[in-house]
């Protein structure tokens, strides 16, 4: 953990890339003729470099938004722009996946058949623009920064899931993305590992400012990590309340017991609980 105190670590002033603009997005699924609206006229503006936490009960369509930004699914109407350029919209309902928006998956998607180092080097190796030696050197140093040295030649299956997540994040960062999309990545981890992961993520963030679009159902995780919480209503998905988290950076886990943290938690709790009850009563299945 870094012992350097820098009051401006959380500032977005020096980040220029990665502003996401979601305008009036609607997504309707049509399985067997029964139209299901997953996302209902959702509009969100995310400034470059912000850690934006999307909070909501299971199955409310948060992943649909993420998939739309990443380019895995299309949208029915509305538009999404990245730094002013169109990702998907009326003429082009589905975005092209690309290395400017990289996803960190819920159950991890490190290639089990490649070593950790090979995984981390994957993106630049596919692009083919640098020499193998350069790529691998950068990979090694980024892994060392993230506390992963010694694991280069292991396979993902041989290390703990917490470490795997970190390798996946480093793999993404090797490509200089503008946005990192997290789909409940820590959902399956125990809370001890989770808190270690949170601090590690923030540390990585302080070194590499990217926009982070992070889906979670864990309120404490959201408040600890984020600049802002966007609390979504249950299906169909629509922003219900926005909560600003003005706790200063850098944050370590002593933040969790600070009075300001508790205040924000109280502010957000009731809304989240409401939506969770609605989802429960509607019998929503988890995404």
């Amino acid at each position: 953990m870094s012992a350097v105190i820098d009051e401006n670590l959380g500032s977005l002033a020096d980040v220029s890339d990665g502003a996401i603009s979601i305008k009036d997005v609607v997504k309707v699924y049509d399985p067997d003729g029964a139209a299901v609206m997953a996302v209902d006229h959702c509009s969100i503006e995310i400034p470059a470099g912000e850690i934006c936490m999307i909070v909501g009960p299971s199955g409310c369509g948060k992943t649909t938004l993420l998939n739309a930004i990443a380019g895995f699914h299309g949208i029915t109407s509305g538009s999404i722009h990245l730094d002013g350029e169109l990702l998907c919209g009326p003429e082009q309902p589905q975005a092209e996946p690309g290395s400017d928006r990289i996803v960190v998956f819920q159950n991890g998607a490190l290639f089990p058949w490649k070593t950790n180092l090979e995984n981390v080097a994957f993106g630049p190796m596919m692009a083919g623009k640098q020499s193998k030696a350069e790529i691998y050197e950068k990979a090694r140093s980024m892994m060392a920064d993230a506390g992963l040295s010694g694991n280069e030649n292991n396979y993902p299956g041989e290390i703990s899931s917490g470490l795997r997540r970190r390798v996946e994040i480093v793999r993404a960062l090797m490509n200089d993305p503008k946005v990192l999309l997290f789909d409940e990545p820590y959902r399956a981890l125990d809370s001890l590992t989770k808190s270690v992961m949170h601090e590690a993520l923030l540390e990585i963030y302080y070194r590499n400012k990217v926009t982070i679009f992070f889906i979670t159902h864990d309120l404490e995780e959201a408040i600890f990590l984020g600049h802002r919480l966007i609390i979504m209503s249950s299906r169909p998905c629509k922003p219900k309340k926005i909560v600003e988290v003005d706790i200063p950076h850098p944050r370590d886990y002593s933040v969790l017991t600070s009075p300001r943290f508790r205040e924000i938690l109280n502010e957000a709790k009731d809304v989240v609980h409401d939506e969770a009850m609605k989802a429960f009563e509607a019998g929503e299945k988890e995404g």
Partner: protein, 450 residues
Amino acid sequence: MPDPANKSEILSALKSAMPFQMVPDNLMQEIAAICTQESYEAGEKIYDLGALADDVFIVSSGSVQHILSADTDASKHEKIMRSGDVFGWAAVLEGQSVRLAATTSIEPTQVLRINGKKLVELFESDPAVGDVVMTRFATMINKEFYVPRSIADQVPGFKQALKASNLQGSEVTTMALTVYRIATWLKSPRPYLMLIGFAVFLGFWMLSVEIWKLPRFVSMPGPTEVFTEWFSEDPYYGLSFYTPEYYKHIGISLRRIGFAFLLATALGVPLGLFLGWSQKFREYIFPLFEVFRPIPILAWVPLAIIMFVGSETPVIFLTFLASFFATTLNTMLGVESIDESYSRAAKCLGASRWQTFIHVVIPGSMPYIFTGLQISIGVAWFSLVAGEMVSGQFGLGYIINTAYMMIEYPKIIIGMITLGVIGYVTSAMVRMMGDYLMQWRVRELALGDN
């Protein structure tokens, strides 16, 4: 020795410490056995600078202030240790007998204490794992305590021990694992139950044919007759371990299987991969494939005899066909079973469709392909025997058939048993090939904490 109630606490504290996160369970248990738990009150001194460095500490809960001596060449001297952090690592440095820091607990703190010497000894017993853990110690010391490499380099390594035992990383895993598995197997009741089963089967066979001479079993050859024939130097019917004909027939069957199986794999795997990967291709080709697949292989015999010249080619064709269908289908299913997240991740990382095919689809379907290949070789033997019985000359199926027609019954049984053994061996060879090509899977299954 800690009691069971605390064991799980100890284990989870151990697992939260970075150097120990990759240790397999059995070694973890042994490490836990040499740990002791201790509590300190707020402000209590844990050890002083210059004291004897015998134990390593892991913080279980609470916090500890760690102040390196001003003499130490470090970029930062003060550090606060919390749950999961490791200190007192001077105890594992070579040639370091005294403490490099003073430590005091800040609030009420619980720690795990591990004797440094005993820890190093444990790792000497398993150099592969020990090496990794010690490297992690070195990394941690280097990074977390901001000391120069020269200090971290004093962490003992086990590369010497590894080289001495002449084994490298992955070999240690597979071979040590096999030896370990065999030893465990021998200690279990399994081999003995197995022998009971064999004994019952052979006993029943012997009793029914030779001793009780049950009516239905009269014409059957008994085990004594079969085995004496099989092992005799001058067998009555001309076929035993000592006759060259025996090996000639085995060789011919093997040659046919080899050729047919390899051809079927060379054609079937790429076809299966494309069928799985490209929806368009599948829509065109799969229905055609499915029209022919249900036709039993032997139903092709007359057509094969019509189409191909000679008696060798039809047999190989039939064997090939059976193998081909099984391989293609299983490969296709394998591609379809790959988790979607992998190809999505590849796309995000900028891989082209072709690159995704090479780096995700092919390695990802390998486990399924090899399962399919094992099925395929079983099916190949099935068809080969049938083909040899009907239209071949030479080969094990041919032996069985002619032995029947010439009333040389013990040869039938010899042929059958030989088939069984060779069939099993070839299947095992395919499986071992798969294990060799997919080291990642072997290690994942052996060590991972899935």
